[in-house]
Point group: C2
Chain length 501, copies 2
């Protein structure tokens, strides 16, 4: 046991060293998206490349692998949901994956995706899918190769990609839930958007919305819902994100638009949801699985819960509207009903990131379907635009006039992120399951929001989700908290209650 302890310490300290590297990379990237001078990008890439090499060499160190193999059979690994067991299991899993992939493949993917993202920006701005196609071909080919290497018996190739973002997820099971959801979602969207067409709920303003006022309001909201500014910051960037630079350093980023009074604040609610999850992970396990998020799906459940279930509720706006009015005079004559209707409009649209809550998942289903076909080899990248249009027509009844707002709209595939999209939809479903359970445990949450009381909900999430880290597989974690398997029903009843009164 003394020997085992020593090996455990060595393995942890090695894993934590790898985290020093990755958190330093995260700072370089955060700075790149916020304050870095215009011409500093090339050298920044050199710094990041150097760190990724360091990281890869730490992650695939064979001595480290031996320690983990030894620990797998140690007493520490024997208590199923303990932090040590989770750490050993998680670290070994990551290690095995890292060493399984040949260096040639890792480098080829790094090159193709780095180049891919640059070409994608250009291709999108020129609306030229053909320009992007050779790189997309290469990326898909390499990820198929990767998926083939990592494939588990009885699972699909696509599963082995999905598994990197949502451990243990089974794409067939997910597909069943998504299909059920889709069937019920289509008529809801239909009804709600019919209403919107006949009687638009959109608020219209003649003046631009002052950015400084939006900043103040968003800051205030972030503080009040519980994002800890002693351990974090809020900055601005083109594409909102959240990043962790240390156990007490969580940074969220949004962007403010002068043609929207609320989109910057919804960015903050979303990213603060991610940030509060990170802030609630066990600090003593920082850099280890027990101190890490369960999965991207669970992560997204936190952001969507705060953005939508909290931030688009009547109770929330009862609390916020007076303050919003005092900061934004243009809202003076707006009523509570008007603003709540405005932020909950449903309208099938072309662009995922601008989609409302009801149609959002439909955008995901299109991508989920396409990704599976690509990785199964049933669809060639060159046929993507056509298939894209046909699925959008079927799921949302809209057709993009071009590829820039069609198949070229997301950065993900150009960055090699295939298998990532479904976690967005999982996040929406998990959020509804969790919110329903929290309400069962805590009583009327909206009533609390009315008086700006968000702490009970945050505490509940801390206890049930955040403090658990990555000690269980994500679907089992949600199941153990909510008492039910992945289900679309809570999400559907939430939507119906809100949209079809």
């Amino acid at each position: 046991m003394a020997d085992q302890r020593e090996i455990l310490d060595k393995a942890y300290s090695h894993a934590r060293r790898a985290n020093l590297v990755s958190s330093t990379m995260a700072l370089l990237e955060w700075d790149q998206h916020t304050y870095m001078p215009e011409l500093a990008g090339e050298y920044r890439s050199d710094q990041i490349t150097w760190l990724s090499e360091e990281l890869h060499s730490l992650q695939t160190n064979s001595q480290y692998g031996e320690w983990l193999e030894t620990l797998q059979n140690s007493d520490f690994a024997k208590v199923p949901e303990s932090a040590h067991a989770a750490n050993i299991r998680g670290l070994l899993r990551d290690y095995k994956k890292n060493v399984q992939l040949p260096q040639r493949l890792v480098s080829a993917l790094a090159r193709a995706t780095s180049r891919g993202q640059q070409i994608w920006v250009e291709a999108r701005s020129k609306n030229d899918f053909g320009m992007f196609l050779p790189l997309l071909d290469e990326i898909v080919r390499l990820r198929i190769e990767e998926a083939t290497i990592l494939k588990q018996p009885g699972r699909t190739r696509y599963d082995s990609l999905l598994d990197q973002y949502e451990e243990g997820a089974d794409s067939n099971e997910i597909a069943l839930v998504f299909q059920g959801l889709q069937k019920e979602l289509v008529p809801i969207v239909q009804q709600a958007s019919d209403r919107e067409r006949t009687h638009s709920k959109k608020l219209r303003f003649s003046t631009p919305h002052d950015v400084e006022s939006q900043r103040k309001l968003s800051q205030l909201v972030a503080i009040r819902i519980g994002f800890d500014f002693q351990r974090g910051r809020l900055d601005e960037t083109a594409h909102p994100f959240c990043t962790t630079l240390g156990p007490n350093d969580h940074r969220i980023l949004t962007r403010y638009l002068t043609d929207s009074y609320s989109s910057g604040m919804y960015g903050v609610l979303h990213e603060a949801g991610h940030g509060m999850y990170e802030q609630g992970l066990p600090v003593e396990h920082f850099g280890l699985p027990a101190g890490s998020a369960a999965s991207l799906g669970v992560h997204e459940s936190q952001s969507r819960l705060w953005e939508n279930m909290v931030g688009r509720s009547v109770g929330f706006w009862k609390w916020l509207l007076p303050m919003a009015k005092s900061l934004m005079p243009e809202l003076t004559d707006v009523t509570l009903d008007q603003v709540v209707a405005d932020v909950n409009r449903v309208e099938p649209s072309l662009i995922r990131v601008e989609a409302d809550e009801a149609t959002y998942n439909l955008h995901i289903f299109v991508r989920f379907e396409l990704e599976k076909e690509l990785i199964d080899g049933d669809l060639k990248p060159r046929d993507l635009p056509e298939r894209w249009h046909s699925l959008y027509q079927k799921m949302l009844g809209v057709k993009s006039p071009n590829d820039a707002d069609g198949v070229l709209q997301d950065v993900h595939w150009s960055a090699g992120l295939i298998g990532y999209f479904p976690t967005y939809a999982l996040g929406n479903l998990y959020a509804a399951q969790l919110f329903q359970t929290a309400e069962r445990d805590l009583g009327d949450l909206e009533h609390m929001f009315e008086s700006g009381e968000f702490q009970p909900l945050l505490d509940w999430l801390r206890t049930n989700i955040h403090s658990k880290g990555r000690c269980q597989l994500p679907h089992l974690l949600v199941q153990s908290v909510t008492g039910q398997r992945l289900s679309a029903q809570p999400f559907l009843s939430y939507l119906r209650r809100k949209l079809l009164p």
Copy 2:
């Protein structure tokens, strides 16, 4: 030659890798001083410690040392002031110094100075020199040990510390110049401060000075004098500094005070002087001596030149005052003469960083004297406060009522920086030598400043100083540009012309 080329490339690439590490550390430190959340400090130290270990291991790599030894006898090293020769000489010098010091000493110094700075903050706030003394004892002892190891034949121990900041400097020669300067400075200060006492030039305002207006004015000044914001930024922090994060990433920082309309802007002028020097170094040699600053003294000459010789001139204020008035209504009734007199007041004071141009060097002489005595072993750290008071009395005629504003006022010694202070005074003297020469070459500079023309001066500095990197020893560089050895005369005539009309 082909072999030599190969070795040269390997050595350069190794040195540049070390620079990736140190520039990444610089970002971690910049962030720590600007945007890092309050509670993130501990983990940040871990990240920095890890990087300093990486850096040290690269810097003392024996294979790297062998390459440099080989290159020393190669054709590349034979052209005296060529970039390659400078690179080989500089890299080998740094390497030899790094490997000469035992790891035990390096670690002990890192620990003592890290702890020293923390204790110093507390001791200063409590005005308790006794609290700081044990660590100061330790730091002085370790640096004496270091100085003994590095000591060159025929030079003093102190020289080997000074040499780390000002290569090739001889403390005896410097002492002679400083003594001459001091003798002539004392009556100038006397006269100027008599005038100030009998007829104060200080501008007094009833309202606080708006920080946003100061920001705008400072930004405008930085752009106009030639700081390149495509390759740099301006931020705020408690103690102004300048740092380089890459060949195209130079960051300057200042702080704005509501009780001064100008101190924030003078911080910007000073730091932009440093920043423009860094921006003018040859980018193609970034990370190598030929792409580095010649010394701290030459660096300080650039900051002091822009802060004082430019920024406190009549011509500069003729250009700036109208803009300053439009941003700061409190200046409306102030005349050009008044503002120029105000920013050029002379008054012996206790605190170095608040000192005017004329008395500033006297503060340095006190420290230079004390440092030499400490390293020679003639003065024990416990006797510092008394000796401090006696030297201040002698040089400036003032006596601090306490140690907080006496011997505890500067961070330097707590950080192990002994031998650093004289570079500040050298900077003042070099600045005057350079400014005099630039004026000889370019004609009436103040006349140019009146119309906001700073480019000719900057171009002259680029050509004569910036583009030269660290290819010559600093005193030889200044001598080759100005035609004279280190001299106090240009500085004294500059001061006399300004202060004793």
